[in-house]
Symmetry: C4
Subunit: 331 residues, 4 copies
């Protein structure tokens, strides 16, 4: 099996992962319309390629929140990487560092923040968190992330309750007994999303700011109105995201939402996007529409499922090569 | 078989109902374009989800014509429930009462109004009727509904003649001998739609008003012009409906027609809609576009086919949970 | 097999006709895009149904060029009816007379004009013709049609050369030896379209007028510009037609072209349309868009293939019932 | 197997060519969206057919850069014709001369320019070239083309790097050992696209002009902006092309890009188009939108694969017949 493009990794993962794990990663809310729209929307955007420009040297390095990365792609926060590969998030961290990109570690990791940090010291990492009913738990996570050198906090705001993913309900999805949501051990019981606080509002962003000196990025914004509110509340970045189509079905594709968010933000904070990136040319489209960087979710998991950190590096390298080639061909 | 969403009940009903009953419930007119458009039109409507709003408490109770219901979904009038479940409309009535919602009993029920009332005393019920050639028959039905505590009359206006449902013609559909249209027994022969009066006009609404003190709701309106006429003729409510796509094919989807009806009515009477509701988010869309409540037709029959009143309650509970979740996720 | 709608007859014909005959009747030019668009375009047109109008009495009789017909559907000119049924055009003529509608007999009939006339004396018939290189032949056909009581001439103008119908080329389509294009016997050899004159222009309409006192109808107009020219040249009617999608592929669907033709004609002559009529509601749509009558081509052949004149009457009766029902349901 | 239209040749080639050769010819970049859009875009363009015009005589001869050709179709430059037929480009040259049209020989031919010239002396030929890192090599090719009587140079500008064609990567595509890129033998090693210079800019057009007295045509333009630049830099013609969808995926279809190029050029140089031509009516559409001539790529290879020069002539003759018929039927 030769791995030529990201969908080759998808096919591999679908074939070799346990069904319950594949279903969990693949799941979208309800009819999966938004999950699929994330991809289809990219196809509706066309290039106007320009010719005879000198494309012999192309610098694809960029900076996000001041940190340099090798190209404008990072790893979006997704949970439970041990479902894809035994070493779980430790492999993810190593691959991200090897490729010199940013990895956003999820609260719902199967390795602890400490393990992730130890696995790849010096890598650029952000930490994704929710606001829990038990605020002390959130506060403790912030402290740990700061102490371990995570360079930003990514607050996910689209999950007051978990979306309805039919296959997960059918499968009775839960983590196998030998895996744990290690970040939350002790603090509260595992895998109960109801521990998240659905009463959270914009004021809680101020509370989070009061806890930390780290920059705060809001993940899950889909409208210009909310983007303006995010800027007003002093965040440092916005990730346009619909949680991979796993929360509210039949909202906008992220690449479509990006346009109105970028317009509302008017350059005051950095804007990123996740969801639907499957080719290097998708990255180029997102950047052309105003994103500073994109983040990949499922493709990273497929890479892990293929060969752990090596597989994830394969995925990233393909994306990097495709991105560079697209830039050259688009002039 | 785990019942996770309404289409699971559809699949069950298709598998276990006698073909002739399934075909009758599923039938649409001609090419079934409008039946299918009812569903597709919902998919073309997208949310603009807002974040960081306090969604810890959500009140989904509402009122229709002054009566409180547990959430804005009711049972649309459909005929012949015994084709789906032995207890027929008695089970429907019990499930509706248990869920604290409104059930619109059809003239073409296989249980009589009296049986329906006895089965679930105290439930909120409306009675659906046609105007018959034999006006005395219509009058007698109105009297009985009034006497039994039905709280509104729903006049169906889109059936001067029965639509052409090809499968019913092919199957030679008729009720099995042990089932009867009990409401019409004695008054006239069963299952002859030609007993309905195709010469009915808006003036007959005045006639109906002269017979009763109950509020009158017009079911089957699809244009702003007709909605304005309905208001002008003093009705208390409008159900935007195309009879589940069973009458004129290639008219508008009901959710599309709702928009112009709401605009024409300008809040003067309550507007409801049926047709194509398959998920809680469809309910939310209909409400966002101005409906006060939606009514489900075929999904109620699938619930009955699954497990009688329990099955119908399952359907309603799923819809209620999905509706609540959609509200939370849409902010 | 129960025959409920026109596509049932299509399925029958496809199953029981010899492949070469089916292919000939079904053929469209090139990729058959226009043939299929004729049907799809009807589906894109939606009704706005109105309610509570007295539809107890509906008069569907109408007049074309002053002759009354039982409903606004006629038989379009198609060739070689013996390929569908042994009695060929004689059966067609009998069915049309029995249904009290207009039959446009094709030059390329397998029965002669005389046989057609004898088969159904007194029926309303028009004669379709081309202008041949050998003008005397055209003149002779006009004389015969006049003498036999045909009430109009239908001049087909979209066939300077025969369209490329791939299956006919593959099949090496030609009439079986026992069938003849009887109208042209003696005058010229059969089945050579090259006998038609590709140099024909609008001036030849004047020539045709000089030969006859019969009204002249132009068949094959697809633009407002040509419709205006037709009126200017003094024709009595226009059939909007793309020859069933058998000539130039990727032109407009006839129901779409009808709109601009009707606009250009401004009521000065009658406008008809053929192509894509498969349901009674299609007839209603065409009339709503300004056609005085529609003509069916392939569905008539399917009816013949099913049971000769009886089968064709079945097709017409279904269309009539559906048309009446659509009118009632649309208000 | 009867060869009635170009897709018959496609089916033949797919069936009988070695998979690796078929894949190479069929390949599109990435998801092949643009390759397929080239064809689909033609289908979205509709004719407005006019009737009753004298179409008995039609002159389809035309001139490109002053040379007369029998109809406005030529052979686009494609590589490696020996993969399709043993005699390779020699057969192509013979077929083009026999049909009296223009053949653009590719730098990546498996026959040398000299062999091509010898095979069909006197034929109208242009030579396609790239600008190589080793400019002397480019210069030598220009000299040879001039000396052999090629009448124009076609500079391909959309290949600073080779597009990502997944199947070629999977197949490890390379020429079989007995085939050579003869034009480049000696000058540099074969099949290394990296020998092309990605730093080429519009200034290099001036350099090319300084080498030759031949007219220069730019191939690969897709925007009005670049078309204006091409005119400004003194070229004699533009081929609107996306390299058959083999370079940047998800750019415009060529027939769509043609419109803006023609508008920008305002008649100052000749504009041609390739990509997606599959029927004579496609040629007519391209001409109606302003192209002076179209060029076919893959269909020529299918013709070669079928029967060498005879097969290619079959393809061209079908296209010629279809083009003439379309003109007649469109009026």
């Amino acid at each position: 099996m030769s791995m030529v493009c990201l969908s080759d990794f998808e096919a591999y993962a679908k074939k070799y992962l346990p069904k319950i794990a594949w279903d969990y990663f693949a799941a979208g809310a309800d009819d999966c319309t938004t999950r699929d729209e994330n991809i289809l929307a990219y196809k509706r955007i066309h290039f106007r390629p320009r010719m005879l420009r000198d494309v012999s040297m192309m610098d694809i390095r960029t900076k996000i929140l001041g940190s340099e990365i090798s190209f404008p792609v990072g790893i979006a926060p997704t949970g439970f990487h041990q479902l894809a590969w035994p070493d779980g998030e430790k492999s993810t961290a190593r691959a991200a560092r090897a490729m010199d990109i940013c990895y956003i570690a999820s609260t719902y990791s199967t390795c602890s923040l400490e393990e992730i940090s130890m696995a790849a010291p010096g890598g650029l990492r952000w930490f994704q968190l929710y606001i829990h009913r038990n605020r002390a738990a959130s506060q403790q996570l912030v402290r740990r992330a700061e102490a371990l050198g995570f360079q930003a906090l990514v607050l996910t705001v689209d999950l007051p309750y978990t979306g309805k993913r039919r296959d997960d309900v059918r499968n009775g999805f839960r983590l196998p007994p030998h895996m744990k949501v290690k970040n939350l051990e002790g603090a509260f019981e595992v895998c109960k999303m109801s521990l998240l606080d659905p009463s959270v509002t914009w004021n809680d962003v101020y509370w989070l700011q009061s806890l930390t000196r780290l920059p705060i990025i809001i993940k899950g914004i889909l409208t210009g109105e909310d983007a303006a509110l995010a800027v007003k509340h002093g965040v440092q970045g916005i990730i346009v995201s619909n949680h991979g189509g796993r929360q509210l079905d039949e909202g906008p594709a992220t690449i479509d939402a990006l346009v109105e968010v970028v317009e509302a933000v008017r350059g005051r904070v950095e804007v990123y996007v996740d969801g639907g990136i499957r080719k290097g040319s998708d990255v180029l489209k997102a950047l052309a529409l105003g994103a500073k960087c994109v983040f990949i979710g499922r493709p990273a998991l497929w890479g892990l499922a293929y060969k752990g950190e090596e597989g994830l590096q394969d995925v990233l390298r393909i994306l990097q090569d495709e991105f560079r080639l697209s830039m050259a061909l688009a002039g």
